[in-house]
Amino acid sequence: MLQKPYDYQSTADDVYTFKTDYRVNYIAYFTEASHYFSDYPEIKDTVLNFGCAPDRSTERLRGARDGRVQYTVIAILEHYLEVRPEAIIFFVCDTRDRQHLARKILFDKWFSSSEARKKYNKIDEDICAGADCAHCSIIFSKKHPYATLALQSFSAIALQIRNK
């Protein structure tokens, strides 16, 4: 069942915040990622990292699964890409607690069940270095002028490391 996203705000610090019915505060943010893609001058200035996390002081309140969080996160991503259609959003699943695979599966489910999949490409790669794997995705408009280059760059990075 389609649920309504929570209301979210952008703050003076250029982050997005929202509060759930369970009184959990979330923060979502975009950071510049050009330094990661310095070998790809055509796109490097449009690549942004995306992240979202609950405030630790309220995280204990999460309890029951709250489906509205996913719609809010997707709504923030969609809003950003509507205003900045040239942006290429890079998303890497946090490995801090070894739950990165679970995060990847969850985010894949969120995206594939949203309307966003019709307007935006989401390309996934498992980028492994040694025993560690990072589950990464890039999301960008299907009308992006550098869509092919973005895809090739992303795949090249993954392939080069995989062949190590």
């Binding site: 952008s10 703050t11 610090d13 250029d14 982050v15 997005y16 923060i27 943010y29 975009f30 950071t31 510049e32 330094h35 990661y36 942004l48 990292n49 992240g51 996390a53 609950p54 405030d55 630790r56 002081s57 995280e59 809003h79 950003y80 205003v83 900045r84 890497v92 946090d94 490995t95 801090r96 980028i127 270095a129 040694g130 560690d132 990072a134 990075i157 080069q160 490391i161 062949n163 190590k164």
Partner: protein
């Protein structure tokens, strides 16, 4: 051949470093913001917040 091999190794090492850097940055950001810290405070550590729209 040796030169090519060396270059390839250098690229691989660079890329592996980049991925590690991404994950380290992600952890740093999470630890900072989830404890109420401001993202802009991480500028000195190379984290630049993109303007909200």
């Amino acid at each position: 051949m040796k030169t090519n091999h060396t270059n390839t190794k250098q690229v691989e090492n660079t890329l592996a470093t980049v991925i590690k850097q991404m994950l380290d940055d992600k952890k740093m950001i999470y630890d900072h913001v989830s404890n109420g810290g401001k993202l802009k405070d991480l500028k000195s550590k190379g984290i630049n917040v993109a303007k909200a729209v």
